[in-house]
Amino acid sequence: MSLRDPLAIARGLGPAKAGLHHWWMQRISSVALMFLVPWFVWFVLPLLGADRGTVRDAIADPLQATLLLAFVFSLFWHTQQGLQVVVEDYIHAAWLELTLQLAIKFACALAALAAALAVGRIVFSA
């Protein structure tokens, strides 16, 4: 029988760590995407089957480029947050979980960077 407070033993061992902050950040990216997804559908629909020049002209528009980057950044932020929770919930081997969490973070960051460079290249060469 230990005289230590059970809470002191449990503290720091839970799965949540910085749960509330993550939860709140996920709501923020959700709300951003709630506005940006309809915009994206509206932006992309007329570009279906369009040639390269038309697509580049549409992306090169400063307002559209801004919204496109806002969409892509929110999207990968949200993707990272969502996949993180899925891995936390279903992957229980510590080494695999850490590997996947890192891989997801790096992949999302790389994808967002690539999109920024691509949009930038189109905007600045227009």
């Binding site: 959700s30 709300v31 993707t79 969502g82 691509a118 189109i122």
Partner: protein
């Protein structure tokens, strides 16, 4: 002291529960989210192709316009619409809306109407074939779930129709 053999709450998937609209939509929300992560990668490939050479864009357009590309695009569309609508349902819960109990009053009327349409469609489509449908509750959480299913089908169909018109216009 830890008690190792305490009973666990049964997981929602397995032999313990019949599939319910609530649990099925919950797992579908995650599934759609994971699927859409791949769609996000396709979006970046599209941007890179547009920023790259003429040949790069032509190759992307060729793959995207192939039957597999179009089917995948449709799947991404449906997943996006579903995740979008169900995500709004989640946000509404976060501000405390949509947790009503059974037999909620007037404000649930439009939702109930959609739920009826959903039931009619479900029975017509596969209820009779499989002999059973999803276990469907009469609370707000189930009702808004059915609303999300109906709206997903309608919105996806509408957007897909617009996409088809755009492609037809170019052909």
């Amino acid at each position: 002291m830890a008690t190792p053999n305490r009973p666990l709450s049964p997981f929602m998937i397995g032999p313990y529960y019949r599939p319910q609209i609530t649990s099925v939509l919950s797992i579908m929300h995650r599934g759609a989210g994971v699927f859409l992560a791949f769609g996000a990668i396709v979006l970046v490939v599209w941007l890179l192709a547009a920023a790259g050479s003429r040949t790069a864009y032509e190759r992307f357009a060729e793959i995207a316009g192939s039957p597999v590309g179009i089917a995948l695009g449709l799947a991404f569309l449906v997943a996006l619409v579903f995740h979008f609508l169900n995500g709004i349902r989640h946000l509404l819960w976060d501000i405390g809306w949509g947790y009503g109990a059974q037999g909620e009053p007037e404000k649930a009327k439009p939702v109930r109407a959609m739920a009826k349409a959903y039931h009619a469609a479900r029975n017509a489509l596969w209820g009779k074939v499989l002999g059973y449908g999803l276990d469907s509750g009469n609370d707000d959480v189930s009702r808004t779930g059915r609303l999300v299913v109906v709206l997903t089908l309608l919105l996806s169909a509408g957007i897909a129709w617009c996409a088809w018109c755009v492609l037809e216009g170019r052909a």
